[in-house]
Symmetry: D2
Subunit: 358 residues, 4 copies
């Protein structure tokens, strides 16, 4: 017979509440009041990271065993959406930490040197498992990341590169989508034609509304030309290869077409979950990026232009990192190639047939 | 020379991330995916409770050594306001837990019996330190609370009654306010007169607008009479004693007048922080109450009318508990006796003088 | 050629920003500073109500033309989930309003009499369209609601009863679910058997853990018996009729079985969207209820035990109304009858076949 | 006798709910479902901007009539803190808008050209009244802003430059602080000495921990030298002038010292409200910046690399604008010069005396 369960034992509360040891108080002196806040907020973040990794791992595991069944898509999407809800706590947690004034932080800041959030192994795991290095095409963890870690941590973090990332697995899954097979060539041709029409229309709009300011008009025109170029590359393997080589695109041409098809025909029953899945990944990335940026603002507020405890060069570095650490950028860029419903090519019957319930 | 600090050691990350042991997985079987969520969300709550208790303890300590200096009021208010920000995570955390479906919860629910949130010692500490039992005039912890605990926990929880609660200390602090001293009798007399005028005006409004529905009008009239009665008691020790005896009021007559004065003349510089302090206590209580109610809804959603794991009788019980566990109700009720600025008696010169910076 | 669009004209900004007329300032006197806040917060609520109604109307329209296609389920679910996100602004908006102190409110409160949130026609529309009166089995709008309205508003509000509510339409949709047809009798029989087993197990748990306190044990036993009774009624038209007659259940027996099936077998691809849909309705209701309760706390804070401007009898009334106005209670109660996956009857082949993509 | 007030009339509900005219539906065609969302979300933003401007105007008005009394500081701080709570709705509102998919936006996007959020006069007013142009030392509104507006709007927006901004007024208020007067020269001398000590300590820490990586060490050293330089300038009018001339600082030397004093001695009773005021301004700016950045991410998500409806060059432009539009940067930078309590010079008796209640 099972032993009766006790709340405190089950959740290991006594151990949990015994893990907040202030450095400022160790010398017989009363610890700084706000160091407790500092510790607890960071521990809450680590617990939340663990939860996110738990969801992500189940996603990676399932996507590593193709084909991914319809049934499992249902709960995997729910888990990714749960991740976005967990992320919703990230900025409020920062704002709780910001109730500590810069002066109160100063009281114990030097004791922490050179400890730094840079040393969070779980956060590095999260970045890597989402696909940060896959996106950048790198095979090793960045030197400035490794430098902050001790050898044991370095080994762990490097190890995360061995598992395929969410981004890599999603790419494979998109490439396997049946609707991008060669037999549907005509369909894609029709789509290409429609987008070219839309781009021509945008060109006309630019001409009409930008005439007041020649310099600005010139710049917009140039931007339009880039868009046109990028779009053409979707159907030209060589041109697409150039984009990939320059780091402007990560996902393969085939995977990009797969994602595009899901976005465009998301109303078809069989695409409901795939569309939700891509959207959840977009949102996970977006919230992570917004949090990084917000974190840079907090660093500025707490430290001014002081150097961070982990010797990072402070808030300006952090701010740029927000942009450089985005992972699912290709999904954001997809919107460049969308069409309004009214201009969308009708699906051929054989394709349509495969997209609904029996 | 101080040892260089490492993030993981400082925050005891390895220990922290080792405290999530699923019951559902112990038998060689793969644990239920969502049990991790269940554990982590509860652990985050306990960390947040610890933070709140940390702030509350510093408040209790300072208020236990009167007089409370102007200087310390400043940071104590900031700490109470921080508590309200921590509470802002409570409902979002519940909503994250609710991403677990009732069916997923069922997978491991029976393993938890009879563990229950009822056994959170820190939550009981929080209730007691805020003043739950002081408000109810009880000298012992409620039997249904004790029943859920083991002897060691019972001893701990009973022990919290030994320290004065925030409510009790605030009462003492309010009673010491100089402006309610006997020498200011005339001022209070004038105030009484003004409120009676306002009540008479309300009476007229009732008469004018309620005529359409005699039954409703009758009820409102009765309510008005009660208000009138309660107000009169503010200046009549015997009548006030009756309210206290019946549990309608906790704070002493003197403390109530003190709080009222702070609300009414909050614009005076010396009352800025006292007003913020009372407001923060109100808000702490309000958010706690809203969370309890929301928790009852979650219980209903997860369990239907099933009995809770700790054998509580479920969501209806929890719902009522939200109302019965409010602590600073007297501060909410204060609004009954407020006056618009235009009808507020001018402060006598000697009182006014004491309320500003030199 | 289309006229170029201007932001201010498109959004009618000038008109919008011209709709905030303070009553407190009309007499040549400077208006109360916080009356603007009061007006704007209420106007934002009304805009958000309009948005919610817009989504709800599209749901009602589509569900009024059965059969509801798989394709439309996809976007209808997204719209209901959007409603829950809009509701997430409701409590923060209240908290912004609460930054107005009770004293500041008093400055203009009497000018508002007898205006009241009770007179929000859109809010009544929302309640009615969700199914408040359908749930209560009433054919007319409650007298205390009508009393607050002028004849024109009364006509409008009564008119909303003419359209079928979301609750009524969902009931019909659930009743049409193929898997509750008579041919699946054996399946339901097996399910009944499994739940009875679970209930017996719960009975054993109760016996084991409640022995310390005979009175509490007695109460829990009684509660268990009620659960048993309610469950049995699911398969007994007469017993179920009794529950409906007493107001304990709204949804028909058939619809309840349909919802139960969706909850239990939600992992099957064809049930992904139906499960999300029921969950979204639950959440809409839950957030609305939590907001009503929070609103009652605000009323207490702002008014104490004063009578509301619309002559409602104040916060206690509002608090009870939160519970009485819940609409999808039957969906909350469903959890009573769920089974863990391990005890769930296998789906018969013919049923299973119909639940997946071709 | 006052006319009885009606909710709908008071809040002008009928007019309010009549301001949502879809462009997509004007041609006899059914309007796009999500255009309503687009309109309502923008209208809610405009209402919230109006509320923020209402608070800001009261601040500007009061600060334009020095000296600012202690009493009014109390409610002005509360109003600025209210602004931060209103800003808390900004990102959730964006996220509600993001429930509209890029494809749904495409359906009506071209109809909006060239309308754009760039044309929000209230948002320009907000930027200007906070002090955007004061910080940049510009005397006219930026050309790219003006270009988007019609002549009437241009006149309005230029007009906002005529009123002193919050930033300018706060600078004046800080300069008037008594504790930076010449008679306190010795105190500031002592403070300078203490900070130099702290900087020397930081220098030692850098040397100890950065030895592993010469390049990084070099960079940090350089950053440290800049900090040292900037700090020295606080007490050297010429050096400070150089910082101002290069746009690295906006606030005058005197105002900066005033703000620094408030941060350092915030525990003194008379500085409670000034400290809260500066903190509120910091937070207002921080939340505005975080929202701008988040808005850039949304633009990327909705449009990819398409050109914005107002012909802005899209999300990259918006992202940089977040950084360039920060207004109270000097307050963020203050943290560079703070000292821990333990190293803080004791206040001279004559200064200390003036900082407390009589």
């Amino acid at each position: 017979m099972k032993q009766a369960t006790n709340y405190a034992e089950y959740l290991q509360i006594n151990s949990l509440l015994n893990l907040q040891k202030s450095l400022s108080g160790s010398a017989g002196v009363k610890p700084c009041h706000d160091e407790t806040l500092f510790i607890i907020v960071h521990q809450v973040y680590e617990l939340l990271f663990k939860q996110i990794l738990h969801e992500l791992d189940s996603f990676v595991e399932e996507f590593s065993r193709p084909p991914v069944s319809e049934n499992s898509l249902g709960y995997l999407v729910a888990r990714l959406e749960r991740v976005t809800q967990v992320e919703d706590l990230f900025i409020p947690l920062l704002e709780i930490l910001e109730t500590m004034s810069p002066m109160d932080f100063l009281e114990f800041r030097t004791l922490l040197v050179p400890a730094s959030g840079f040393q969070s192994v779980q956060f590095r795991e999260l970045e890597i498992k989402l696909g940060l290095y896959y996106r950048k095409g790198e095979k090793t963890v960045a030197a400035h990341v490794m430098r902050a870690l001790n050898p044991e941590e370095q080994a762990k973090v490097s190890g995360f590169l061995a598992t395929p990332s969410a981004l890599a697995l999603v790419e494979g899954w998109l490439e396997r989508m049946p609707f991008i097979a060669a037999e549907h060539f005509d369909f894609w041709h029709e789509y290409e034609f429609a987008v070219l029409g839309m781009l021509a229309e945008e060109r006309r709009l630019l001409a009409r509304h930008s005439s007041q300011d020649p310099a600005a008009a010139q710049q917009l025109l140039q931007q339009w030309e880039e868009t046109q170029l990028i779009f053409t590359s979707l159907f030209n393997a060589d041109a697409y290869g150039v984009l990939q080589a320059s780091g402007q695109r990560t996902l393969s041409q085939k995977a990009t077409l797969g994602a595009l098809f899901i976005f465009l025909y998301r109303h078809e029953a069989i695409l409901h979950q795939p569309y939700r899945l891509l959207t959840a990944l977009l949102t996970i990335d977006e919230k992570l990026t917004a949090w990084r940026y917000r974190h840079a603002l907090m660093a500025h507020r707490l430290l001014g232009s002081k150097v961070g405890t982990g010797s990072s060069s402070g808030h300006q570095y952090l701010q740029k990192a927000a942009e450089h650490s985005r992972i699912f950028v290709d999904l954001f860029n997809l919107s460049t190639f969308l069409l309004p419903l009214s201009q969308l090519p009708k699906l051929p019957a054989n394709l349509k047939k495969s997209l609904n319930f029996s």
